[in-house]
């Protein structure tokens, strides 16, 4: 893409997105005053809230990452969008309505309502922060990538820009997680993706040349001389003798000149420039399917594919309920039934959305297969219009996609930073507004530092790490807390520390990218081991400490499960300043008189 024009078009598109969002924010600004805020938001209804949940949920991983993974892994990558969506099924079946009725706004709140332990609350807070940070890193990565693709600025610039915007939004409060604003985000993202995909599909159908998508088409070759400079260490699978010009390190040898590669795997170090002549077969990185046929088939790539697939499904299925920015959104549902209806709509909206990144990944395989050589598959969506269309359509559509991508990062990042900062300011840095602002900076500075230091995972995989830790900590907590009266605070703490600790210890080296590839598959998705372990630990330790079961557990369970119309669920006291201040209101019923029986 011509750099100058692309830059201006993208900026223009982003300004339009920001303007639309700001208008939505102003419209919703009538609901500003604290006590009216939630009541007014609650009159919006499940359709708005579902769009808001989906809008905030569709982050960099969903927008760019899914297309990139489909480009790399073909059918096997489809488990990511399936898993992202299926998490809401689990949430609906086990968590949505009861959690709403508990009156809790955050996960630590729920823990306090259900088990009443301050120490457990602190442990939960720690893991909320861990999960939030793990989820933020890919957002920053995606932002850096997007800006880099469009303007060729170094990656940290995009990340810094997003964080500045997020901080500004949070400080001024005008774009602050309002339901209407987030609902608009969903429709903006959907449009930003659907329009280019439709155009590209029409273009593809109208192509005169022999179809690229035929199974008998030869493996793609570079159409013109191209330089590849990977931003991480990669291993290329070369299928025929290839001569390349290398400046840097390949196969461990510092090289400056022509090299003849035999058909084998060849290591290329980060930052090395490799120049391929026109007509050379495109080698692919080893964790991608080698040819189009393999790419179309399931289980085509990677070692231990079946176990990794199942572990990923477990993590995604069970981790959604543990993401910090998901639960708070249910607070704008007036009651448990509305929470259920909302979740059903979320499933429909997500399903409608994911069709487009999937189709994009397929188109990318046809039009930009050289990304497979660079290992830079996350850029698939951004590169696609330029590779397939003429100059001006590519500019416009590319700008649209970039704007949508930025909308994705900003909305997800805002939601995450608000959640993490909220938890930080309530539990770690006490004090009202000033504490919250300081917490905001703290909330993103650590992920930013991490992202700058290491940048080696694909976006969707990076997000998968957050899911794995969330699934190993908050899923057992929520499921057992809502459905089992025998849970004790000691049991919950033991399960969270063990499951979450192990999951975090496993994913951290994977996130840092310091693992050899064989270990990567196993450790990057530990959920299939850590989740059952966490459940088991919670149950066993709770049984052992059964004297610590809260005395009013029956009343709490009643509150969680009784139908809304009986009026038994407690809500936070909004008379005070904001939802988070109303902790005592939630604790009140437990101090009421009445007989306590186990």
């Amino acid at each position: 893409m011509p750099q100058q024009a692309a830059f201006y078009v993208t900026i223009a598109a982003m300004v339009v997105v920001a303007a639309v969002t700001m208008l939505a924010g102003l419209y919703g600004a009538k609901m500003r005053s604290t006590s009216n805020f939630l009541d007014a938001a609650r009159t919006l209804g499940p359709r708005w809230n579902a769009a808001a949940i989906s809008g905030q949920y569709l982050s960099a991983a969903s927008f760019l990452g899914v297309a990139g993974l489909v480009l790399k892994g073909g059918v096997d990558a489809l488990w990511y969008p399936v898993g992202f969506t299926a998490g809401y099924v689990t949430l609906l079946l086990f968590v949505a309505a009861p959690l709403r009725r508990s009156g809790a706004y955050t996960l630590p709140d729920f823990v306090e309502v259900r088990l009443g332990s301050a120490r457990l609350r602190r442990i939960c807070t720690t893991f909320v922060i861990i999960v939030g940070w793990l989820y933020l890193v890919p957002q920053l990565q995606g932002a850096g990538l997007t800006l880099h693709e469009v303007t060729h600025q170094p990656k940290w610039v995009g990340a810094a820009v997003v964080m500045v915007i997020v901080t500004f939004n949070i400080y001024t409060g005008w774009m602050h997680s309002i339901t209407i604003v987030q609902a608009f985000q969903y429709w903006i993202k959907l449009t930003a993706l659907a329009v280019p995909v439709f155009v590209l599909l029409i273009h593809h159908a109208a192509e005169q040349q022999p179809p690229r998508s035929s199974l008998n088409a030869p493996s793609p070759a570079f159409t013109h001389g191209m330089d590849i400079t990977p931003d991480r260490d990669i291993v290329l699978n070369v299928t025929e003798p290839t001569t390349v010009k290398v400046i840097g390190t390949q196969d461990g040898h510092p090289t400056n000149g022509l090299v003849r590669w035999a058909p084998a795997e060849h290591k290329v170090t980060k930052g090395t420039m490799v120049h391929f002549e026109a007509g050379t077969r495109i080698p692919v990185i080893t964790d991608a399917a080698a040819d189009y046929g393999a790419w179309l088939r399931p289980l085509g790539a990677g070692k231990h594919p079946l176990l990794a697939t199942y572990s990923l499904i477990v993590a995604l299925l069970l981790g959604t309920m543990g993401l910090p920015h998901v639960l708070g959104r249910y607070y704008t549902d007036p009651d448990g039934s509305a929470a259920r209806r909302t979740t059903l709509l979320v499933l429909a909206l997500l399903g409608a959305f994911y069709l487009f990144p999937i189709v994009s990944g397929w188109l990318a395989r046809l039009y930009v297969p050289e990304l497979l050589a660079a290992g830079n598959t996350d850029a698939a969506l951004l590169e696609l219009p330029g590779a397939a269309l003429g100059k001006w359509p590519a500019l416009v559509l590319g700008g649209l996609i970039a704007a949508g991508a930025f909308a994705a990062f900003i909305s997800a990042a805002t939601g995450l930073v608000v959640s993490v900062a909220g938890v930080l300011s309530t539990d770690v840095l006490p004090g009202r507004l000033r504490g919250f602002r300081a917490a905001t900076i703290a909330a993103w500075s650590v992920p930013l530092a991490f992202m700058l230091a290491v940048s080696s995972l694909d976006l969707a995989q990076g997000v998968g790490l957050a899911f794995a830790v969330a699934a190993s900590t908050f899923c057992p907590l929520l499921v057992l807390g809502i459905w089992w009266r025998g849970l004790t605070d000691t049991g919950a703490a033991a399960g969270i520390l063990l499951g979450g600790g192990l999951a975090f210890a496993a994913v951290l080296p994977a996130a840092a990218g310091i693992l050899p590839p064989e270990w990567q598959a196993v450790l990057a998705q530990p959920a299939v081991f850590t989740v059952p372990l966490a459940f088991l630990t919670m149950v066993v330790v709770s049984r052992r400490t059964s004297d610590r079961v809260p005395g009013d557990v029956s009343r709490i369970l009643l509150r969680l499960h009784a139908p809304d119309r009986l009026g038994l669920s407690e809500d936070r006291d909004f008379g005070q300043s904001g939802p988070r201040a109303g902790l005592t209101a939630a604790a009140l019923p437990r101090m009421r008189g009445g007989r306590h029986r186990r």
Partner: protein, 171 residues
Amino acid sequence: MSFGGMSDDANGPDGDPWAALVKAAEEAAAKEQAAQQQSGQDSTIYPLASRIKSAKRERIVLAQRRNSRRVVRTLAELEDQTSVGEVLVRQLVRVQLMLSLRLMLLTVVVLGAIPVAFLLVPSLGTTTILGLGLPWLLLGLAVYPFFVAVAWSYNRGAERNEQDFAEMVEN
């Protein structure tokens, strides 16, 4: 809707599990009330009464309810956590949990069977329908309406369980 007293309509193939429960509950409650009145306590303080009156429910009542005290008393029992109330809550929780587990199992089995199917029957991986690969149609398209169907089925079932419980309490 009922005209007072217990609802007589059958609640599905299980019959009416609540009826037997409530009968037992009434007997136990009668005993408890007798015991309380002996000890001088009046358990008939109904903190919920005002809340019930102010709840925004609209119901058309075609006849005066004969046992309105029972409504409030049952709710009070739920709130005060008598053994009666506890039994009712346990039953509700169990019914809801069974529903959730059933649907979760269905989802997991369907999702989990897909990789295994492709492993055991490799030809499935290359089958095409209307020119599109079967694995793509399954995982990229068909699962999403399946999720929505599961969700819709759950919502219906959960609402019905809750309605049964509420009606039982109110009648």
